[in-house]
């Protein structure tokens, strides 16, 4: 077999010193900026801005030569793991390869250089793009219409819950509770609280699925709906989705689909066909728009027919042979300052158009194939928390390893960094002890999976032979384990706070 394309162990993260901050590199009198010649006479600040409003001192930022700025930022980039560098088997995050073609889409001047308040007659291309994306997302999820405004998954969740609320209120129905499985992402309960509802937690069964009996016991006519991730956060498909939908709809509640794990079912099953009424998608997961180190994302929300009138507005719509904006009749209002993270939306459309129906189905197949292969391969060293076929990710547990060697999931994760891989998600979902949540994604090759499995096997062997070495990991990274308690105890969030704390 050939070598692993997704292993980053050769990365030249050179040097054992810290990179100075840009402020430490700063020297008054240096400057990189060159502004264009405008031919407009400069005016004195005093002539434009009267005294009570005028700054009485210069706003000091930083003073760098262009060469030093380039060196600094490039060295920072060398201290950063990324998908382009190697595999990122970070469960629940779908860190797949981001096709470069989408970078070129986002750089098109005809998309990037458009003011969001320009009249619809001047932005027909953008409007067509957004309407097309909405149609594709509805086709993929089996829903009637979508809003593209939410800027991330959590924004989508809150938007979806406000839609749920508006739907019930329009029927004169003041419901109070939203059900959430105990395996849910933290954003779910936080969003529920912000939407004005109360959380009722539904326990999972021994099989890692929603406990139907417990669900039924918690239902009532004060239940606004349920938020489900399917496949759920342990990587398992909620096989009882039909009875769940029947039960929740039976009390007049709605089903909310958290799209964090949509990658697993592309072209295989659709939330709309499962009975979901509201669906959010994370385009920065499923449709490969780059995560940017923690954003920007995009979290469109698609809904069934009965909720279309409540969608945020204005919405891009087809009108005659052109496109325009329209506010839905009973819209919940805006959820973004403009039209959503438009350039992220354009990247996602490019991804969908290149893949098409067959390509997206192949994505899900290979995501699930990779995860199941790893689950099976790792069974002897890190057993799956639930020993049955998984979807796009598998959750394994280090409980036995901890009991035998004292080495915890966190130690395994840190050791994996030394092996040239990003660590999996650890200690989530909360219902699994010593959880390591591994989502290889479809874009990692079988060779990379083998290398990842061998790395984990070496770490487990080391845990038995030399646990101290595992506790000490990582050693090959720019910094070792970080003192998080100190960071929280004495907050140093800026260069100026660092100076006051005597750190400069």
């Amino acid at each position: 077999m050939s070598a692993a394309g997704g292993r980053a162990a050769s990365a030249p993260l050179v040097g054992r010193e810290s990179e100075p901050t840009m402020f430490e590199l700063s020297s008054p009198g240096r400057s990189a900026a060159q502004l264009r010649e405008t031919g407009i006479a400069p005016r004195a600040l005093e002539a434009m801005i009267p005294a009570p409003h005028r700054r009485d001192d210069r706003l000091v930022t930083v003073d760098l030569a262009e060469r030093d700025l380039v060196g600094h930022v490039t060295r920072l980039s060398a201290r950063q793991y990324s998908v382009d560098l190697g595999a990122y088997p970070l469960g629940s995050c779908t860190m797949k390869y981001n096709p470069k073609m989408a970078d070129e889409v986002a750089a098109l001047a005809g998309l990037a250089h458009v003011h969001p308040a320009a009249d619809a007659s001047l932005t027909q291309g953008w409007l067509e793009l957004l309407v097309t994306l909405e149609e594709r997302l509805c086709g993929i999820t089996g829903m009637a219409a979508a809003t593209l405004q939410p800027a991330a998954g959590a924004a989508g969740e809150l938007t979806g819950l406000l839609l749920m609320r508006a739907y019930h209120r329009a029927r004169g129905d003041a419901r109070r509770r939203v059900l959430i499985p105990d395996s849910a992402h933290g954003t779910n309960p936080a969003s529920v609280t912000l939407s004005g509802y109360q959380v009722t937690t539904v326990p999972s069964t021994e099989r890692g699925l929603v406990d139907l009996e417990a669900l039924a016991a918690r239902l009532g006519d004060d239940v606004a709906g349920i938020m489900l991730t399917n496949p759920n956060t342990v990587g398992l498909f909620e096989e009882d989705i039909e009875p769940i939908a029947e039960l929740v709809h039976g009390v007049g509640g709605l089903l909310y689909y958290d799209g964090a794990n949509l990658n697993a079912i592309l072209g295989q099953a659709r939330p709309g066909d499962m009975g979901f009424d509201i669906v959010h998608m994370n385009l920065h997961k499923t449709f490969a728009t780059p995560h940017g180190g923690g954003g920007p994302g995009a979290g469109p929300v698609a809904v069934g027919e009965s909720l279309v009138d409540f969608l945020p507005g204005p919405r891009p719509v087809r009108r005659g042979d052109g496109y325009g904006w329209e506010a839905p009749a009973r819209s919940i209002g805006r959820v973004h300052g403009w039209h959503g993270n438009a350039l992220v939306l354009a990247r996602a459309l490019a991804y969908i158009e290149t893949h098409g129906a067959e390509g997206l189905a192949a994505v899900a197949e290979h995501a699930v194939l990779n995860a199941n292969w790893l689950r099976r391969r790792l069974a002897a060293v890190l057993p799956a928390a639930f020993d049955r076929p998984c979807m796009h990710e598998c959750v394994v547990t280090a409980t036995a390893l901890k009991e035998a060697t004292g080495v915890r999931a966190l130690d395994v994760a840190k050791s994996l960094l030394d092996e040239g891989f990003h660590a999996p998600t650890v200690y989530f979902p909360l219902i699994v002890d010593e959880a390591l949540m591994i989502e290889p994604t479809e874009t990692e090759s079988p060779e990379t999976l083998v290398a990842l499995a061998e790395a984990l096997e070496r770490i487990v062997a080391r845990a038995h032979d030399d646990p101290e070495r595992v506790h000490a990991a990582p050693l090959a990274t720019p910094v070792g384990r970080v003192d998080e308690a100190r960071a929280a105890r004495t907050l140093v969030a800026t260069e100026d706070m660092a100076a006051r704390a005597g750190l400069r």
Binding site: F23, I49, S77, V83, G267, G295, G337, V363, V482
Partner: protein
């Protein structure tokens, strides 16, 4: 089939065989038959990247606005972004990284965010900034939540000088939180604050400059807040901040702003950058992520996301914010752009925006029928009263290659009001505009209002 899957047919077969399966579809055999999709997704077949690029480029060509000289602003500004900033900010180490959950291999993003936080704190005149929110509207929404949780109250006095879309978003989310938002009208381009102490007031929000471009007396807003023990939230602009008193120096408790002007293209409205800074006492209620400096086990300087106990993944339903993904890449870009501009460059850039805006304002108000909407001072943006509906004027200017500004009426605050009237045009000048662009603007506006 797309080219992004590395698996060969032989490898597929071998992996399936390892799992005791025959075909890829067997991987989904445990899904209930009723929910299995038959016949594939109802979307078109895939195409090559190059064909898709051609198609999207053709769509992009239909965005006439992209080719116009842009005098539109109101939270979305057409600034120059130099090649060096584009090159650095598009490095794939930043673009394709995930949230820095493993600080040992994420020092690049973490340190860049620390630098960004420092710069936002300096711009705002407040000591602590977070690592970004989605956009200015999201920052306002989070500021109201912070004020409500700090004061235990729900009342908000929100100036109509705050961007209408931000106000609309605040109203949308207040449906869930129960905040009672009262909008305060503008008179003569500045807020006409009601006086009188109240016991239900969590926040007073003022735009500085406001969305029409005008500088308001923030001291009055501070006094209104103090009278009722509320927090003062100042919604500001980072470029104007180079020339005007900082939010902190006016006594703001919270600064919110749109940071797009710092290195991010117009982008049809997103992804942008929500700026957010607070007084030190409020730091444990700060929404979103914050990066702190600490050390590693060997004593080396290291950065890490901190005060994590505030965040949704730990606090769950008791969290006061649900923010997870933010706008890190735009924050990193802003730090790079400010690094390129430098102290003097930022000042000079802001001064050029202001000089051009003042010159243009003087010249267009010489046009018969065109008046300044307010006598209040402004920085780089101002409002005109045209004495006639704005939209036809903008359409005529567009035919002459100019995006003449933003019709106040087009910025729907979503409350049934239509802003400051259908004859109000908001005009913005940036450092990209040259003398001949101003000449062309004056000529085009003059012609449009004369017809």
């Amino acid at each position: 089939m797309p080219n992004y899957l590395p698996h060969t047919a032989e490898q597929d077969a071998a992996m399936l065989s390892f799992l005791g399966l025959e075909r890829l579809e067997d991987l989904f055999a445990h899904l209930p038959a009723a929910v299995r999709l038959a016949g594939g997704l109802p979307i078109p077949a895939g195409r090559s990247e190059l064909d898709v690029l051609d198609g999207l480029a053709a769509l992009a060509d239909r965005n006439v606005a992209a080719g116009l000289t842009c005098f539109a602003g109101v939270g979305a500004y057409d600034h120059d972004i130099p090649p060096v900033v584009r090159a650095l900010a598009s490095r794939s180490e930043f673009v394709t990284a995930y949230t820095p959950y493993q600080p040992e291999v994420a020092q690049g993003v973490l340190q860049a965010l620390f630098e960004y936080q420092t710069l936002v704190a300096r711009l705002s005149g407040l000591p602590v900034a977070n690592a970004s929110l989605y956009d200015g509207a999201a920052s306002l929404v989070e500021a109201l939540n912070l004020a409500a949780s700090t004061t235990g109250r729900q009342g908000v006095l929100l100036s109509r000088g705050v961007h209408p879309h931000w106000r609309a978003a605040a109203r949308t989310f207040a449906a869930g939180t129960g905040h009672q938002i009262e909008e305060v009208p503008l008179v003569g381009g500045v807020t006409a604050w009601p006086m009188g102490a109240r016991d239900d007031l969590a926040a007073v929000v003022v735009g500085y400059p406001n969305y029409l471009g005008y500088l308001e007396d923030v001291a009055i807003a501070r006094a209104v807040a103090d009278e009722s023990g509320a927090l003062l939230v100042v919604a500001g602009d980072p470029v104007a901040a180079a020339l005007v008193r900082s939010a902190g120096s006016w006594g703001a408790d919270v600064f919110v702003g749109e940071g797009q002007a710092l290195g991010t293209a117009l982008s049809f409205g997103g992804p942008y950058l929500g700026l957010f800074a607070v007084r030190e006492e409020l730091v444990r209620r700060l929404p979103g992520r914050i990066v702190g400096e600490t050390a590693d086990t060997a004593g080396r300087r290291a950065f890490v996301t901190t005060l994590r106990a505030r965040e949704q993944d730990i606090r769950r339903e008791r969290a006061t914010s649900n923010v997870c993904t933010n706008q890190t890449l735009m924050a990193v870009t802003a730090a790079i752009q400010l690094g390129w501009l430098g102290t003097d460059g930022l000042h000079e850039m802001a001064l050029r925006c202001a000089s051009g805006a003042h010159e243009l304002a003087e010249r267009v108000t010489q046009i018969p029928g065109v008046q300044a909407a307010s006598e209040a001072p402004f920085v780089r943006e101002f409002a005109l009263r045209l004495g006639r509906p704005v939209e036809p004027v903008l359409a005529a200017m567009a035919r002459r290659g100019i995006l003449g500004g933003v019709a106040a009426r087009a910025l729907d605050p979503g409350d049934g009001t239509r802003g400051e009237g259908d004859d109000v045009l908001i005009v913005t000048v940036t450092e990209r505009h040259r003398a001949r662009d101003l000449d062309a603007y004056v000529a085009a506006l003059g012609e449009a209002v004369a017809s």
